[in-house]
């Protein structure tokens, strides 16, 4: 049986082939042992601080918000080594890989950020990485593919299915089924079968803990709301985890509305999806009436995923967190605004969270402190955004 709780209310679980259960049990045990092992914690913290650059700053925006009642802070995960929050939990899982005596790492990636984080951690720790990436994403994210290869990872394009993130996950799980003896599947978000949602949250929870400390230091009180984008949901759950028991802090997850929630082109699984099982977890997914998985869509590859982490499904169902959706257009607007007003180019993913925070800031009628998880930087998106906005920006 599972040693840790494998469900969040009715969501979560371990819906995998019987063959993978021993590998997931082994991972759960390694995680439990590591949590109680001071030398593991010391090594993890050392890497986070001295290699990746934690703690990341909390930046008060100067020009972005016009409402004088509102203070909008950015948690600067964009400044973390690798360019996004992903590096946190990847370092944790890479250390677990070594702890389990495994020498290879399998990973999936959509936008390439998780792939880059995996490649850098494996380069550092002497692990052999192979990273599955949908062939469409390999084309769309060429610079990240090059980064991964530069750091010694093997990038394997996946043509099966739709050739995007969900197919890369399928392929990674198939690889793992054959190679669990020597390879760890380093899943990139707080989704998938137990114990991944728990492990990924715990290896990201320092984001929320730092925010608590930093806001207390600057403001002497807790923030009113935390806002993060949600694809699989790792940056959001890492930000929320430390505040779940404090209902006075609003938790808001922002899903990709793509071309609009009235269209089929979106990835808003909580706002518009239904309950089902995908990639090992019972959660909200995008599916047709018969249970076939539907394609998701978002301008941001990192949010383009037809499922969501099971804890988010639970937080939505209990009402502890609120989930909203922001369109491509609104996200692109926020992306430009942050660049122009603050000199920070955010990832398109994080731009979704920012767009919603800006709406909240406009509507605030009392003193309000908002924190947005600026989960990644926008360098990876420049080629894509140039295609969409090039003429408008270049004039």
């Amino acid at each position: 049986m599972n040693k840790l709780e494998s469900r969040f209310g009715e969501f979560g679980g371990m819906y995998v082939p019987e063959l993978l259960v021993p590998a997931l049990d082994q991972l759960e045990q390694a995680f439990i042992d590591a949590r109680e092992d001071a030398s593991f914690q010391q090594e993890f913290t050392g890497l986070l601080n001295d290699y990746a650059g934690r703690p990341t700053p909390l930046t008060l925006t100067k020009n972005l918000v016009s409402n004088p009642l509102v203070k909008l802070y950015l948690k600067r995960e964009d400044l973390l080594h690798g360019g996004a929050h992903k590096t946190n939990q990847v370092l944790g899982q890479a250390l677990l890989t070594k702890r389990m005596g495994k020498t290879e790492v399998i990973a999936e990636t959509g936008a390439g950020q998780h792939g880059v984080a995996t490649a850098l951690a494996c380069a550092l720790l002497g692990l052999k990485a192979r990273i599955y990436m949908g062939e469409k994403d390999v084309e769309r994210q060429a610079p990240n593919v090059f980064r991964m290869r530069l750091m010694g990872a093997e990038v394997i394009p996946v043509s099966a299915g739709s050739g995007t993130l969900k197919d890369a996950v399928n392929e990674a799980m198939r690889d793992w089924s054959a190679n669990y003896d020597k390879a760890h599947y380093l899943l990139g978000t707080a989704a998938g079968p137990h114990p991944f949602p728990t492990i990924v949250r715990e290896f990201h929870r320092m984001m929320g803990e730092e925010i608590r400390q930093q806001v207390m230091d600057k403001e002497g009180r807790l923030p009113d709301a935390l806002i993060a984008c949600v694809g699989g949901g790792s940056n959001a759950i890492g930000m929320f985890a430390d505040f779940i028991e404090q209902p006075e802090v609003k938790l808001i997850g922002v899903e990709p509305a793509g071309k609009g929630l009235h269209t089929h082109l979106h990835g808003a699984t909580i706002c518009k999806g239904s309950k089902g099982i995908l990639h090992g977890s019972h959660t909200f997914i995008m599916q047709d009436q018969e249970g076939q998985i539907e394609e998701s869509y978002s301008v941001s590859a990192g949010l383009d995923y037809p499922a969501v982490g099971p804890q988010h499904a639970h937080l939505a169902q209990t009402g502890r967190a609120e989930y909203v959706a922001v369109t491509d257009e609104e996200a692109l607007h926020a992306f430009q605004l942050l660049a122009r007003k603050e000199g920070i180019i955010p990832a398109l993913e994080s731009s979704h969270a920012l767009a919603h925070a800006l709406n909240m800031a406009d509507e605030a009628e009392q003193e309000t402190i908002l924190v947005v998880n600026l989960s990644g930087r926008g360098d990876k998106d420049l080629a894509h955004v140039t295609k969409i906005l090039g003429d408008e920006v270049n004039g």
Partner: protein, 269 residues
């Protein structure tokens, strides 16, 4: 409803093991799929494993993924699959057939509803590739309520304790994995399954069928020598369909030859 029990009893009397081919329902299209299934039975298959096409089959290798994609492209849906099954059952009242599919298809209309539909279509057993023992309770409950056998998988890496639990829970038969990995004929079953089969037998398991990487008569023979009640062959069967899409008659002839050869290998000395 005890078609498996009757089958294994008859095979025992004839000193034979079971040969069980797998195909995807609706592959390559509904009419041809029906003809394929009938051909497999007419050629001597003892039982059938039948897949429902699913968009994200994580336990399947390229051959069976492609079969699912072909079927989905032709618009295959679970209701259509049940229609085909109903037609087959009307023609062949005695042969056991089992479904092998993924959990989300079962969940979509409610677990109980799915099992009822399956029973109404004449299905004997259900194996859900992404539901391990640990998550099986609500599915097993529906199976018990509808008189369907819930099949579980005994993998080569399972602990003795897990094997005992699988043996206790799996009814109809137990699906024994011949190797790790996903379905496919590219990689042969490579383990000596004897130890695994012995443990299951000691735990009073339902008869064991060995699957994954079984594509040749000598492997069927070996599985039975090692103590399996029979062998399941999926990707090798589906490969014949894929390689003969342009010529249906040739496809059916080759399937017939294949089943005859595999079945012949089930005769014990």
């Amino acid at each position: 409803m005890d078609r498996y029990k009757t089958l294994f009893k008859q095979l025992n009397e004839r000193k034979q093991g079971a040969f069980v081919p797998f195909v995807m329902i609706g592959d390559p299209d509904p009419d041809t799929s029906f003809e394929i299934i009938c051909q497999l039975i007419d050629s001597g298959a003892d039982a059938l494993e039948l897949g429902f096409p699913y968009s994200d089959p994580i336990a399947d290798g390229p051959t069976i993924q492609k079969a699912a994609i072909r079927a989905l492209k032709e618009g295959a849906t679970p209701p259509q699959c049940f229609e085909i099954l109903t037609k087959v059952r009307a023609l062949y009242p005695d042969i056991p057939f089992g479904l092998l599919l993924y959990s989300n298809l079962v969940l979509a209309k409610g677990i109980e509803t799915f099992y009822q539909r399956a029973r109404d279509a004449g299905v004997d057993s259900i194996l859900i590739a992404d539901v391990p023992l640990r998550e099986v309770a609500p599915f097993k409950q529906a199976a018990d309520n509808t008189g369907i056998e819930q099949i579980l998988i005994a993998p080569p890496n399972a602990s003795d304790e897990s094997l005992k639990e699988v043996a206790a829970a799996s009814t109809g038969y137990t699906y024994v994995l011949g190797r790790a990995g996903v379905t496919g004929a590219e990689t042969d079953a490579n383990l000596d399954a004897r130890a695994l089969l012995n443990k299951l037998q000691q735990a009073n398991s339902a008869p064991s069928l060995l699957g994954f990487g079984i594509s040749r008569p000598e492997q069927v023979k070996q599985a039975i020598v090692e103590g399996a009640a029979g062998a399941i062959s999926g990707s090798a069967t589906v490969n014949i369909i894929e390689n003969n899409l342009h010529d249906k008659q040739q496809m059916l002839n080759k399937l017939s030859d294949f089943v005859h050869a595999m079945k012949a290998a089930t005769q014990k000395d």
